[in-house]
C-alpha cells in the first residue's frame, strides 16, 4: 500500500508484476500501475472512484464490474487519429504512457454542468425523447443540437484512422469461446482426441475464474493444463480475443486485439478480425452477476461482489477500505473474510435471508457482523458512497435498522449464464426457477454451453463439463443444490422511494419500466426501445434479466413467458476498422478496367463507376467542366466523328441446337427468324412483364448467337439465362457463356464514320450495300482480326468494332493515331447519354423495373405468336389499364432553362398550391443539336400529351422550367443519318 496506490493490498495479485511501476494518465493525472493491471484496476488502486457521468442524467458513476459487462467505466483512449471512444476500462490492459480521458462531462468530471439534470429526473421519464421532441416538427432542428450535446458518450474521432487492421479466415474442428477452467478443460480433452482446436479468450491471459480465487490446488491444475495446451501443435491459443458473433452453420467472428496483448508489436496490426468456420462450438463464456435494486444503487462505490473478489485476487486491489457486503447467498462470506485478511474493515454483511445458515453462523462466530433478513435500501453519498441505509424486511413492515458508514457496497443478486453466443445461434432458452435465470435450452447447430455459461458455477463441476464437452460426450447432470432462497433482485421493496437503476449505462430506472408497462408497452422488445433498456454498448448484459423480470411483474406475466430481447452480434463492440480490415479506399472493392484504360488515364479522363467497371465519364481535354466537356464531345459526334469505349457492355455467347428456340423464349420479340450475320435489337422481360434488359443480338451461325446486354445488367442476364436453361426448360440443348471480358469494344459514330472505317479496315466493303444496317462482318483492323457491327446508339452513322481483349489497347491506340485527320474525338458516358436521350433510347433509368414494353413505346415488339418470358403477363388486366406512365420526350421552351435533378412534371406552373405530379424525369441532358435542355420522362398517359406544355419542377432544387412534350425521338425521327 502506498500513498499513490491507497487501495493496493499485499494480498492477491495473480495477474500483476509488482517488481515494476509504470504510469499512464487519466484526465491528465498520473496513475501508477503494475504490468498486468487493467485501466480499471489501476484507477481503483489509485483511489479514482469517480470515472464517468451517466449517459442521460449525468450522474456520477464509478467502476461497477470486472469485465465486458461493465456499464459505467467507458473511457476515451488516445487523441486525434488514434482516438478510441467508449473503451471499457475493465477490459483495457494498462500501458505505459497511455492517455485516458473520462467522457460525457463538461467542463470537468467533478463539476459537470449537466449534472443538474439529475435534479429534474421528473422531466426525463421513459419515452422522453419520443414524447417531447415530436412536436412541433419545425422545432426539431433546435432540439437536436441540444440533445446531441447533452446525450453523448465519447466523441467520434475526426481524423482518418491511422491504425492497421487485418482480416483472416480459418477452419477448425472445435472452437472454444472462453478460456476459463471449463474452456481449458474442454480444449485439453478435444485436442487429446486429435481435433484441431481454437481456444479464444477475451483477456490477455487465460484462466478466468481461477484468478479470482486464493491459492489452492486449482492453480497447479491451471498451470499444467495451459502448459500442456501450449505444447500441442493442433491447438491455437488466442488471448485478447473476443468471440463476437455466432452465425449460421458455425461461422463465428472473433476480434483479436493484438496491441492489447503485445505492446511492442512492430508491424503487427492493432486488431485482427477472424472468420472461423468450426466443426463444432463449445461456449464457455461464464456467468454474469446480477445487481440488486435499492435507492441510489448507481453511486460510485457500489460494485458487484464478484468484481470486488476479482480485483482483490487478480490485481491485489481493494474495492473499498470499509465495505458493506449485500446479497442473499453464502458466497458473500468467504469474500468478506478475504477482504478482511487483505486489510479492509468489513463493516457488515447484509443478508437477505432471514436464516442464512451455517456459513454465516461461522462468520459471526469469528467476530464478523451479519444483519440477516435485511437489505440495503439506500446508498448515501453523491460522488462516493458514504453510507448504507439498512432496512429489516423479515418481520412486519420494512423498517430502518441502521445506516452504516462505508465507502463501498458490494452487491450480489446471484449469477446468470452469459447467453450471448447460445442465443445468437438461435438456441432455445429455458427459465430456471432455482437460479432465477434463463439458461441455455436445446441448442441450434453443433454447439453446447458448459460451466458458468449453462449455470454450473462450482469449479470441479465446470471442469467436468469441459472434459465431457471436449470429448463430445454428454454433459453431467447439473447440480440443483438446495440453498436457502433469498428474494430475487426484482422482488425487493423500495421503502425510501429513491431512484433505483436497472440499466446504469442508459439511466433506466425500475419506475421507467413500470411506466412503460402502464402506457401499454407489454413486449420486452417494445419496452427496450421505449425506455432504451439494454441498448447501450454493454448490450444490457447486466440490465436485461432484471428489466425483464420487472416487466413481467408489472404486466402480471411469468418471466419465462415474457422472453428475452433478441440477441444480436456482436456480443461486445468490435471496431469498424477491424471489420473493414484492409478493404479501405482504392482497395475497398475490385475495379474492372477496359483494355484501353491506360489511354483513358493518360488523358486524365474523369471516371465513373458502372458496376465494378470504371468508365470515362468525360475527357477534360474537351472542356474544363463536365458540362462543357460533354456538350463539346456530343457536338463533335453529330458534326464529324466520335470514338467511345463500350467494352463494359455485357456479351454472352449462346450456342447449341436449340439456341434459336431459347432466344425466342428469352426475348419478347422474334429472334429465331434472324438470318446468319444479321442483328436485331431485343427486349428481355421479367416474368411479370416488366422490361428486364435490352441489347442488340447478332446471329453468328445457325446454332450460335452473340448477345449484348447493359453494363449493369450483364451478371443478372447471365443468371436469368441459366435459370431458363436449368430450371424452366432443362430439355433445351444450348449453352450460355459470358464473354464480356473476351472482347474489347469501341464504337465510332458520326457523319465521317464510314470514311474513317474504310481507312482503318481497308479489306472491308463499308458501303451501304456491302455493310447494311444491323450486319456483322469480319475483317482485319491494325493487324488484328475484328468483328465490325453496323448499329447505332447515338443516332448517327455508326459501327461497333470488337477485337480480342488482349489487342484492345493496341487497336484503340491505332484508331486514335489514325483519327487525327478525321477530327476524331474520344467521348465518355456523359456525351453518350446526351446522344441517346436525344434519340429516345432507353436505359435502366427508363427500364426501371416498373415499365412494360408498351410503357416505353415498344409494345409492338412483344410477339404473341410464341411463348417468351414475360409476354403472358402483358395481357393481365393491370397492365392493360389506362393511366400507366408512358415514355415521352421533353424539350425546354427557354434555351437558358435548366432541368433539375430528380424532377417531377406538373401540368401547371407551381404557385402557392401543391400540384399533382404527372410523372418524373428519368434522364436529361443538354442537346447540342436543339441548343437547350431535353429529357426523357415517364408521364401518366404521356403519349396523349404530345405537343402540350408541362412544367419540370424540383421543390428541393427550387427550379421550374416549362417544356414541350414530344415523341421520345427528338432528333432525326426518320433515321436519315443512320444511312450516312
Amino acid at each position: 500500500m502506498s500513498a499513490r496506490q491507497p487501495n493496493r493490498s499485499d494480498t492477491g495479485g495473480w495477474l500483476i508484476d509488482r517488481s515494476r511501476v509504470e504510469i499512464f494518465t487519466f484526465d491528465g493525472r498520473e496513475i501508477p500501475f503494475y504490468p498486468g493491471d487493467t485501466v480499471a484496476s489501476a484507477l481503483l488502486a489509485a483511489g479514482e472512484t469517480l470515472v464517468g457521468r451517466s449517459f442521460k442524467l449525468h450522474r456520477p458513476r464509478g467502476i461497477f464490474g470486472l469485465g465486458a459487462e461493465e456499464p459505467n467505466a467507458l473511457l476515451t483512449l488516445g487523441a486525434g487519429a488514434t482516438l478510441t471512444p467508449n473503451a471499457r476500462a475493465t477490459m483495457i490492459p494498462a500501458k505505459p504512457g497511455m492517455q485516458v480521458s473520462s467522457q460525457n462531462r463538461w467542463p470537468s468530471l467533478k463539476h459537470d454542468a449537466f449534472g443538474l439534470l439529475d435534479k429534474v429526473k421528473a422531466v426525463l421519464p421513459a419515452g422522453f425523447y419520443y414524447k417531447t421532441f415530436m412536436w412541433p416538427a419545425s422545432r426539431w432542428m433546435t432540439y437536436e443540437k441540444y440533445i446531441r450535446r447533452m446525450a453523448g458518450l465519447g466523441p467520434a474521432p475526426r481524423a482518418r484512422d491511422t491504425e492497421q487492421y487485418a482480416r483472416r479466415n480459418i477452419h477448425c474442428d472445435v472452437l472454444i469461446a472462453g478460456g476459463g477452467p471449463a474452456g481449458l478443460a474442454a480444449a485439453e480433452a478435444a485436442a487429446a482426441n486429435g481435433q484441431s482446436v481454437i481456444l479464444a479468450h477475451a483477456r490477455p491471459s487465460f484462466g478466468g475464474g481461477v484468478h479470482s480465487m486464493p491459492q489452492g490446488p486449482h492453480r497447479r491444475w491451471f498451470q499444467d493444463t495451459l502448459a500442456g495446451l501450449e505444447a500441442m501443435p493442433n491447438v491455437r491459443l488466442m488471448t485478447s480475443t473476443t468471440v463476437a458473433g455466432y452465425y449460421e452453420h458455425e461461422l463465428l467472428t472473433l476480434s483479436e486485439r493484438v496491441r492489447d496483448r503485445d505492446s511492442a508489436a512492430g508491424t503487427a496490426p492493432t486488431e485482427r478480425f477472424w472468420e472461423v468456420r468450426a466443426g463444432r462450438v463449445i461456449i464457455a463464456t461464464g456467468a454474469i452477476e446480477r445487481p440488486l435494486l435499492f435507492a441510489n444503487n448507481d453511486r460510485p462505490g457500489v460494485m458487484l461482489a464478484s468484481a470486488a473478489q476479482g480485483y482483490l485476487w487478480r490485481f491485489g486491489v481493494l474495492a473499498g477500505q470499509a465495505p458493506v457486503l449485500f446479497g442473499g447467498d453464502d458466497s458473500l462470506y468467504p469474500l468478506a473474510r478475504a477482504l478482511k485478511d487483505a486489510g479492509a474493515i468489513v463493516r457488515a454483511v447484509v443478508d437477505l435471508r432471514s436464516d442464512p445458515g451455517l456459513v454465516a453462523a461461522a462468520y459471526v462466530a469469528d467476530g464478523g457482523k451479519v444483519i440477516a433478513g435485511a437489505m440495503v435500501a439506500k446508498a448515501h453519498g453523491a460522488k462516493q458512497v458514504s453510507g448504507a441505509e439498512v432496512w429489516r424486511i423479515d418481520e412486519g413492515a420494512p423498517h430502518v435498522q441502521e445506516t452504516i458508514p462505508t465507502d463501498a457496497i458490494l452487491i450480489s443478486g446471484g449469477f446468470g449464464p452469459s447467453l450471448q453466443l447460445h442465443a445468437q445461434s438461435k438456441g432455445a432458452l429455458e427459465w430456471d426457477e432455482s437460479l432465477g435465470a434463463f439458461v441455455p435450452g436445446v441448442p441450434n447447430g453443433a454447439n453446447c454451453s458448459i460451466g458458468g455459461a449453462r449455470g454450473v458455477f462450482d469449479l470441479p463441476a465446470a471442469i467436468a463439463d469441459g472434459v465431457a464437452a471436449g470429448k463430445a460426450a454428454s454433459l453431467p447432470e447439473r447440480d440443483q443444490a438446495d440453498r436457502p432462497t433469498a428474494p430475487q433482485p426484482w422482488e425487493l421493496p423500495n421503502p425510501t422511494g429513491g431512484i433505483r437503476f436497472v440499466d446504469l449505462q442508459n439511466d433506466v430506472a425500475d419506475k421507467d419500466i413500470a411506466l412503460a408497462a402502464r402506457e401499454g408497452w407489454h413486449s420486452i422488445e417494445h419496452v427496450k426501445r421505449y425506455t432504451t433498456l439494454g441498448m447501450g454498448t454493454d448490450q444490457g448484459k447486466i440490465a436485461g434479466p432484471i428489466g425483464l423480470a420487472l416487466l413481467a411483474a408489472a404486466t402480471g406475466k411469468e418471466v419465462a413467458k415474457t422472453g428475452l430481447t433478441t440477441f444480436r452480434p456482436p456480443a461486445t463492440p468490435v471496431t469498424f476498422g477491424a471489420v473493414a480490415g484492409g478493404h479501405l479506399g482504392e482497395v475497398g472493392h475490385a475495379i474492372r478496367r477496359s483494355a484501353a484504360d491506360a489511354w483513358h488515364e493518360s488523358q486524365n479522363a474523369v471516371f465513373i463507376d458502372a458496376g465494378l467497371w470504371r468508365r470515362p465519364q468525360y475527357y477534360p481535354s474537351n472542356g474544363a467542366t463536365l458540362g462543357e466537356a460533354y456538350r463539346a464531345e456530343a457536338a463533335a459526334v453529330r458534326a464529324g466523328l466520335g470514338l467511345v469505349d463500350v467494352s463494359t457492355l455485357g456479351k454472352i455467347d449462346l450456342a447449341g441446337p436449340d439456341a434459336a428456340e431459347l432466344m425466342d423464349r428469352l426475348y419478347c420479340n422474334t429472334m429465331g427468324t434472324l438470318k446468319v450475320g444479321r442483328g436485331r435489337y431485343g427486349l428481355m422481360l421479367r416474368e411479370d412483364g416488366r422490361v428486364f434488359d435490352d441489347g442488340v443480338v447478332f446471329r453468328l451461325a445457325e446454332d450460335r448467337f452473340h448477345l449484348t446486354c447493359t453494363t449493369g445488367g450483364a451478371g443478372a442476364v447471365y443468371q436469368h439465362i441459366e435459370h431458363a436453361l436449368q430450371v424452366l426448360w432443362p430439355d433445351l440443348k444450348a449453352y450460355a457463356t459470358p464473354v464480356s471480358e473476351e472482347w474489347f469494344a469501341a464504337a465510332i459514330a458520326g457523319p465521317k464514320a464510314r470514311d474513317y472505317l474504310a481507312a482503318i479496315a481497308p479489306e472491308l466493303d463499308v458501303s451501304n450495300e456491302g455493310l447494311p444496317m444491323m450486319r456483322l462482318a469480319e475483317t482485319m483492323i491494325a493487324g488484328v482480326p475484328a468483328r465490325v457491327m453496323r448499329m447505332s446508339y447515338s443516332g448517327e452513322l455508326s459501327f461497333e468494332i470488337n477485337v480480342p481483349a488482349d489487342w484492345g489497347g493496341h487497336v484503340w491506340a491505332h484508331m486514335i493515331s489514325t483519327g487525327n485527320s478525321y477530327g476524331l474525338t474520344a467521348y465518355g458516358t456523359e456525351a453518350m447519354g446526351a446522344l441517346r436521350i436525344e434519340k429516345g433510347h432507353v436505359t435502366h433509368s427508363e427500364a426501371d423495373g416498373r415499365t412494360t414494353p408498351d410503357d416505353l413505346g415498344l409494345g409492338r415488339m412483344a410477339s404473341r405468336k410464341k411463348d417468351a418470358i414475360g409476354v403472358r403477363a402483358l395481357d393481365l388486366p393491370a397492365l392493360q389499364e389506362s393511366g400507366r406512365k408512358q415514355l415521352v420526350g421533353l424539350v425546354a421552351d427557354d434555351p437558358a432553362a435548366a432541368f433539375p435533378q430528380g424532377a417531377q412534371v406538373t401540368a401547371e406552373a407551381l404557385g402557392d398550391q401543391p400540384r399533382p405530379s404527372l410523372g418524373h424525369v428519368s434522364s436529361y441532358a443538354y442537346s447540342s443539336e436543339l441548343k437547350r435542355m431535353v429529357a426523357l420522362a415517364l408521364l401518366k398517359d404521356g403519349r396523349a400529351l404530345h405537343g402540350q406544355t408541362v412544367h419540370v419542377v424540383s421543390l428541393i432544387m427550387g427550379v421550374a422550367a416549362a417544356a414541350k412534350v414530344t415523341d421520345p425521338v427528338m432528333i432525326d425521327p426518320d433515321g436519315e443519318r443512320l444511312r450516312g
Binding site: Y247, E248, H249, L251, R277, K426, N444, G445, E687, D688, G715, Q719, E722, H723, L725, Q726, V727, L728, P730, D867, V871, R872, A873, D875, L876, P877
Partner: protein, 87 residues
C-alpha cells in the same frame, strides 16, 4: 453464414450463391387462365420450417440447385441439381 453443399463444388459459403426463391412453383402453360399466371408471378408461400428453394451457385459452378432448407434453424437437407429434377 450458411454453408451450402454444392454437389459439384462441395460445401461453399452462402455468399457464393444467389437466392432463386421457391422451388415448388411451376411455370404455367401460356394458355392457362390469368388467375393461374397471377398466382405464379406474384404469390409465394412463406413457410416456417421445411422449405424447398432454388439457389444459384453464382460464384462457383453456376449450377441452379434445389436446396431443402429449414427456414427456422437453417438446417440444410438434400441438395440436388435443379435440371435433374425432371418432373
Amino acid at each position: 453464414m450458411m454453408l451450402i453443399p454444392c454437389p459439384h463444388c462441395g460445401p461453399r459459403p452462402e455468399t457464393e450463391f444467389v437466392y432463386g426463391g421457391d422451388a415448388n412453383v411451376k411455370r404455367p402453360d401460356p394458355a392457362a387462365p390469368d388467375a393461374e399466371w397471377t398466382d405464379y408471378i406474384y404469390f409465394r408461400d412463406n413457410p416456417k420450417g421445411a422449405h424447398r428453394e432454388l439457389w444459384l451457385h453464382a460464384a462457383g459452378c453456376h449450377s441452379w440447385l434445389t436446396v431443402e432448407r429449414d427456414t427456422v434453424t437453417h438446417a440444410i437437407g438434400s441438395v440436388s441439381y435443379t435440371k435433374d429434377s425432371g418432373e
